[in-house]
């Protein structure tokens, strides 16, 4: 009997948590309905003006960066001030890192080898990006909104130290952005200057240098459709794999749903391999959710949308063209056909 593959499931009352330190001004209270565009919090905020990768610039180990910094956390520096230096060959040579902009030194990521220069604080309004209601407000813990979300399972997440990244209640949060069109491999030249607060979908496959570049640009998390398993196991930063291991062509389902939800907030749970698109748009017609009568088992018939777990055609998805004895012919999005044992396909519902 073939299992169904529930690609996306609507969760009507999902807990979405916004960090709230109690110092900012909260303009809502528990029970309030929240609409998109509504003002929620007034707070002071800094932006990152520039980031120095001290490991690269001084040729040192990232976790020893603190030993070479000659400023303190929060210190105001002017342009061209020396912020870090390395003395070597018995004092004969000195490598210096100078500030490119004037701003405030932040050592929040120094344990990863990064030194940031922040702008002065300015008043920042947090406008709601979501429709929902206020479930709870707790200073230090955050504001919990009840929102609807689209839940999708991803394949795997890398092993990383939660304390080094902004993980809150086993969750990573950020706004979904793409690099490129999403169906090819991304390159460094495609990158923006900063990905702070963003969850970045890189496309078909991901290589280790790209991971380093994205985290240097303060990405909250990285999504990739596939990755070499050996690279994946060597990661120490959060990377979620959507499809599988190797260099797999992303199936149309993933591209469609992520494309439709660019700019939406994503909550990625590190515990249960789920990602939640807050107020997500479904992949059905006009953004509706797929209607399915059967959640767990479905029959493989011509015309059914299926996904393969055969090793030789792993994660290939398409429509059943015909059934030949104990195999199905799947027509994929790019027009090609694949023959797969009928027991190795799941019906997408």
């Amino acid at each position: 009997m073939n299992r169904s593959f529930v690609f996306a499931k609507r969760i009507e009352d999902f807990d979405y948590e916004i960090p709230f330190d109690g110092l900012s001004t909260c303009l809502i209270k528990t029970g309030d309905a929240v609409k998109k565009g509504e003002l929620l919090i007034k707070s002071a905020k800094n932006v990152v003006l520039e980031t120095h990768d001290l490991a690269k610039e001084l040729d040192i180990l990232g976790n020893s960066a603190m030993d070479y910094i000659c400023r303190v956390n929060g210190e105001y520096v002017l342009g061209d001030d020396v912020i870090a230096e390395k003395i070597s060959t018995g004092g004969l040579t000195t490598k210096k890192v100078r500030a490119g902009s004037e701003g405030i030194i932040s050592l929040n990521r120094v344990h990863l080898g990064y030194l940031d220069i922040l702008s002065e604080a300015f008043e920042s309004d947090l406008l709601s990006q979501w429709n929902g209601y206020v479930k709870n407000i707790a200073s230090g813990d955050g504001i919990t909104l009840g929102v609807d979300a689209l839940k999708i399972n991803y394949k795997a997440i890398s092993k990383f130290n939660h304390a080094d990244y902004k993980v809150f209640n086993d969750r990573l949060v950020g706004e979904l952005v793409f690099i490129g069109s999403g169906d090819s491999i991304s390159h460094k030249k495609d990158l923006a200057d900063s990905y702070e607060g963003k969850i970045v979908f890189v496309g078909r496959s991901l290589y280790l240098d790209m991971v380093a570049e994205l985290y240097k640009r303060s990405a909250a998390c990285v999504l990739s459709y596939s990755m070499e398993y050996s690279d994946f196991r060597s990661l120490t930063a959060p990377v979620a794999i959507l499809g599988g291991f190797g260099n797999l062509a992303p199936n149309k389902l993933w591209l469609d749903i992520l494309n439709k939800n660019i700019g939406k907030d994503i909550v990625l749970s590190t515990k249960d391999n789920s990602l939640y698109i807050v107020n997500g748009v479904g992949i059905g017609k006009d953004g509706a959710d797929l209607k399915h009568k059967k959640e767990f088992f479905d029959e493989v018939v011509p015309g059914a949308q299926v996904i393969s777990k055969d090793i030789d055609s792993y994660s290939v998805a398409g429509v059943v063209e015909s059934i030949v004895e104990d195999a199905v012919v799947i027509k994929t999005g790019d027009g090609s056909s694949v023959l797969v044992n009928i027991e190795l396909v799941s019906v997408i519902v």
């Binding site: 399972n153 050996s230 599988g244 291991f245 190797g246 767990f296 088992f297 777990k309 090793i311 027991e343």
Partner: protein
């Protein structure tokens, strides 16, 4: 005198819910006309996250779909539910009383493994959906008791049960106690038991094993490292019951060998076969990875992993009957549910001979056994050659094999002569397997050497 109900026409459904799968077997028998069969349905749940709360909905869909798959009327419609009305009412599956082939059941049994996450909730879901069904929890005690009952029924004094699943290998053994039993101990089990297990809780830990030199030592296909790692990781994170990939099959064979060898080395004294003429030994093997390897590959993995020798019976239970009908079979005529014969479920039976050979120089091929096979009126000379693995398919239920070993070869516990009659002791074998490889079997130094050796073992 009217016949017992169990001996007239009868149909019985048994469902086992394991960690990662559901197996259903519907047994039908009509003893008066000698018609009996078992319908089989396997559903792989691995790679899908199922919470305890999902089980009720899952079982509802499953039981309805099962009737369609078997083309059998299994359950009555819920008296509280009718199409179009009250569709959100909980379903109740009352067993449709048995009427004839294709219509109704005499009973239903659910066996739920204690390795299923929050299995007590699964049991509750089953009981609320199908209150008439019998439920049993498959745990170590249940398995050992079932194995003991089966060993008595099949006439083995020593029986091993290998449950080989991707994330968990279990070996159970029961050995009948010999000698006098004190009156005070009359109610205690009359067998010695043993159990060992290897379990992988983290799929990535298992996926990382592909880099292990132990695993690579047994592999016979040379594949680029990254292709192998990616394929194995994809398989482990989303396993399947079948595959056309030769690469995967080779990895699984190596994996079975390494796991069993590790268990054997940790418990040599408990897993070594007795190899005496008086003790009949049977090995029953089941599990979700059996269908991923060819039978000949499975033999090599078992014989080398457990360092087997001597003579024993090998029962391959690829359909998982041990967990659905094992207890019922073991109860025999005392069963109140259904009566099954060994031909119904444990019919993939092979007689295995692994001789000890000292008179064949390493690297040479020599005949070590000469004999004849009598099948009906046909008599055929047969030879077994070292270092090959050969199998002889038995054509009838009364085939005979007799002959002698030469070149200082012999079977531990049996000596230099073999006299085998199919059907003696009511055991009907499908084949005889002769493993005449010189011990110790040496693999390596690389995959291509293993390919050459394995081709030589099977004379390809």
């Amino acid at each position: 005198m009217s016949k017992l109900p169990l001996l007239t026409k009868n149909a019985y459904l048994s469902i086992s819910i394991l960690n990662g799968s559901i197996t259903s077997h519907l047994a039908y028998s009509h003893y008066e006309i000698g018609r009996s069969y078992i319908l089989h349905e396997f559903t792989d749940l691995r790679g899908h996250d199922i919470s305890a709360e999902d089980w009720k909905g899952l079982l509802e869909e499953y039981l309805i779909a099962l009737g369609d798959r078997f083309e059998w009327k299994l359950f009555l419609e819920n008296s509280f539910y009718s199409k179009g009305l009250l569709e959100d009412q909980p379903k109740l599956f009352s067993v449709y009383p048995f009427e004839d082939e294709g219509v109704g059941l005499s009973g239903v049994r659910f066996s739920i493994s204690d390795s299923v996450k929050e299995y007590s909730k699964v049991v509750n879901a089953v009981r609320s959906l199908c209150p008439e069904a019998k439920t049993a929890i498959i745990n170590d005690k249940y398995t050992t008791e079932t194995l003991n009952a089966i060993s008595r029924k099949l006439g083995y004094e020593d029986m091993l049960f290998l449950d080989l699943n991707l994330f968990q290998f279990d070996i159970y053994r029961v050995i009948k106690k010999v000698g006098r039993v004190n009156l005070a101990d009359i109610n205690k089990p009359n067998f010695d038991e043993f159990h060992c297990r290897i379990k992988w809780d983290n799929p990535f830990a298992l996926a990382d094993q592909i880099k292990s030199s132990k695993l690579k030592a047994f592999m016979s296909l040379s594949v680029k490292e990254n292709i192998l790692q990616n394929a194995w990781a994809n398989f482990v994170t989303n396993p399947s019951i079948t595959s056309s990939s030769r690469m995967l099959s080779d990895v699984i064979r190596s994996y079975i060998t390494v796991q069993l060898l590790s268990m054997f080395n940790d418990h040599i004294d408990k897993l070594k076969l007795a190899n005496t003429e008086e003790v009949k030994t049977g090995i029953l093997v089941t599990g979700d990875i059996l269908s991923l390897v060819e039978p000949s590959s499975l033999w090599v993995a078992l014989f080398d992993g457990l360092q087997l020798d001597g003579a024993f019976d090998l029962i391959t239970d690829i359909n998982g009957y041990f967990k659905t009908y094992g207890r019922i079979f073991g109860d025999g005529i005392n069963s109140s549910e259904f009566i099954l014969s060994r031909q119904d479920i444990f019919n993939d039976l092979a007689r295995v001979y692994i001789p000890t050979i000292s008179g064949v120089p390493f690297g040479q091929r020599k005949v070590i056994f000469s004999g004849e096979v009598v099948s009906g009126t046909t008599v055929e000379n047969t030879y077994f050659i070292a270092p090959e693995i050969q199998s002889l398919n038995l054509k009838t239920q009364h085939d005979m094999l007799s002959g002698s070993f030469i070149r200082e070869a012999y079977i531990k516990g049996l000596g230099e002569k073999i006299s085998f009659i199919n059907g003696a002791d009511e055991r009907f074998y499908k084949k005889i397997i002769f493993d005449s490889r010189i011990r110790p079997v040496i693999y390596g130094p690389d995959a291509s050497s293993n390919t050459i050796k394995m081709n030589g073992w099977f004379n390809e």
